[in-house]
Symmetry: C2
């Protein structure tokens, strides 16, 4: 197959980890006889520096002409005091909205050889294997009115039935490929949007009799993610709750540095990025863990290109490297030698 | 001193744990020569059953004539399918709003003898000693418009400068009595209300040069509560974030069953309740842990009545009983004999 991939390295460690991920993509191309056309674009802080715009038109055009987007990370102290419109994360919000990337998928799976890095007791974190499906283009993030005066401020949490339907359907679809369980998370004892959410889930589940559906409140979910995270299969929730819960979930297995994500449009186009941030304090020193970016490429192959074998090949290679005890600085136990970003990537390439 | 206390036992285990807490109050009265006039009122499910109203006028009148309120817990499956206005938690929301209980205080402190029950590694949970200050009468919980149609729904996140000012001041004041550190939690990279929040914190902190203030995003906070909870002293945040984060925080030390809370008005009037719910599945069987209700009484003595010595006496007694290895069923290690609600309360009384 022939595919066009837009790579937006972004800021901080973004360039290093996307470089590693692109190397993996090239290995996959050779081994499985594909052709990936890779083109680079600016987003976030570096785009502000060069184009005075966190999401320049050139970048939008590039992505429009691509089959998928790989993003590194955006942000850094340099732009922290910029006015709101000139902040790196505005690029992220804008690209999500422009491309209608409504479905954010974040898998969290315990890696046995990384459990030493988990803040949770090993027996609690051990069996974790969940997928958070977060609505990404609605709710408080984009609702109007959203403004402030000297004396007060307002944001609007708004959802249409259609917006809820498509994300709930997405959750049911992905649950079918997993253990068939969906926890729908809301605050239906307080919010009107949550009551509509719950109603849509009740309607939609009729078309998925094979899926086991549970409604949970967001506060109880925040607890259960810690007390019994292994009980979750798929979690589906609205944008703001998803932001909080997916970040909470990202640290329970100790493997934040290895977590990928996908942000999907309904036609298979998607943006793939590591869950970790731009970590400016370690940028450019070969200390970054490229696993999350590499696994984001695996998600791209899987979700946007339908290349399941290729995706599994990457996942297995990464797992083997971990099992063999090779870690970057973030995961190496004290006393253990840490590999550089490049060395660790080379190990994965060897496995492939 | 002479004080009037309204006791609203509520549903499920509410009556058992408030009964235990009232016993402790009586012991305190005898030992320290106070007089507590205790009167009972209905709230939640039992109030719906008796008065068709989760917060009957009689209960409001009772509380208005009291110096403080002790609440058990509300809710249960019996009322789960009631229409929104006739649900137990509506009583809770209504009493908060009616009495302007804007400041919800939830301490979370690791108890060494309970760490075996924590899902976190002991070294992570060990030093935890934080206080979450949650704004309780504003934001998404009460903002208008809040309604839905067939096709869409909306909730409104609104804050006035005054609402933010008073809760931020409260946080700074309580931080002074602790380690002097405040983490103000918002989502200022997305929400207008958060930008106003951050601005108010920046202004207010000028009057508290002794307090160390840090701004944190709600998603990072959800992570750090797990990876490094001991780093927090006081956390202050808006209503919805506070709901999620305080529930998350409540499970990290393994002692959910022992956590009290206070919901305060600006003049010292307050409502005190255990953080745990009504646990209908164990109600009436002597299995409930009364520690949270008993410690809620300690908070009442401290915050509403200024009885610091009395409050400390209760806290010390509870701690000693834990250190001596006496636990109710929720905390007993396997193989260990669990005390009943009454037996455990008797141990605390012995200590007092
Ligand atoms: C940077 C920020 C706007 C963004 C969000 O809140 O969605 C980030 O936290 C994320 O989860 O991708
Ligand atoms: C019952 C519910 C409305 C309430 C809330 O969300 O405030 C509860 O979760 C709490 O935290 O006291």
């Amino acid at each position: 197959m022939e595919k066009r991939v837009a790579v937006l390295p972004g800021d901080g460690i973004g360039p290093e980890v996307t470089e590693a991920a692109v190397k993996i993509l090239e290995v996959i191309a050779r081994r499985f006889n594909h052709k990936f056309h890779i083109e680079y674009g600016a987003i976030g802080g570096n785009a502000i520096d060069k184009h005075n715009n966190p999401l320049p038109d050139e970048t939008i055009a590039l992505c429009e002409n691509s089959d998928a987007v790989l993003l590194g990370a955006v942000g850094g102290p340099k732009w922290d005091n910029n006015p709101s419109a000139l902040r790196p994360e505005k690029g992220l919000l804008a690209i999500r909205k422009h491309f209608d990337l409504f479905a954010n998928l974040r898998p969290v799976k315990a890696v046995p050889s990384l459990l030493h890095a988990s803040p949770l007791k090993e027996e609690v974190a051990m069996e974790v294997d969940m997928l958070i499906v977060r609505e990404l283009t609605g709710g408080l993030y984009f609702g109007e009115p959203s403004h402030r005066t000297e004396k007060s401020a307002v944001d609007t949490l708004v959802y249409t039935r259609e917006e809820i339907e498509r994300i709930v359907e997405k959750a049911f679809e992905v649950a079918r490929l997993r253990r068939g369980k969906v926890a729908s998370v809301d605050k239906a004892n307080v919010l009107e949007t949550s009551k509509l959410w719950r109603e849509v889930v009740e309607e939609k589940k009729k078309a998925y009799p094979d899926i086991e559906v549970e409604h949970m409140l967001v506060d109880s979910t925040a607890m259960k993610l810690i007390t019994n995270p292994a009980a979750f299969d798929v979690i589906v929730t609205e944008n703001m709750f998803g932001d909080i819960l997916s970040d909470e979930a990202s640290v329970i297995t100790g493997s934040l540095g290895v977590l990928p994500s996908a942000s999907l449009r309904s036609d298979g186009f998607g943006l793939y990025e590591p869950v970790h941030g731009s970590a400016p304090e370690i940028a450019g020193r070969g200390l970054a863990n490229p696993a999350a970016a590499i696994l984001s490429v695996a998600m791209m192959l899987n979700y946007s290109f339908g290349m399941k074998t290729e995706a599994s090949a990457i996942e297995e290679a990464v797992n083997t490297v971990f099992e063999d005890g090779f870690f970057t600085a973030d995961l190496a136990a004290s006393g253990q030698r840490a590999l550089s970003t490049q060395e660790w990537t080379a190990k994965v390439i060897d496995e492939l």
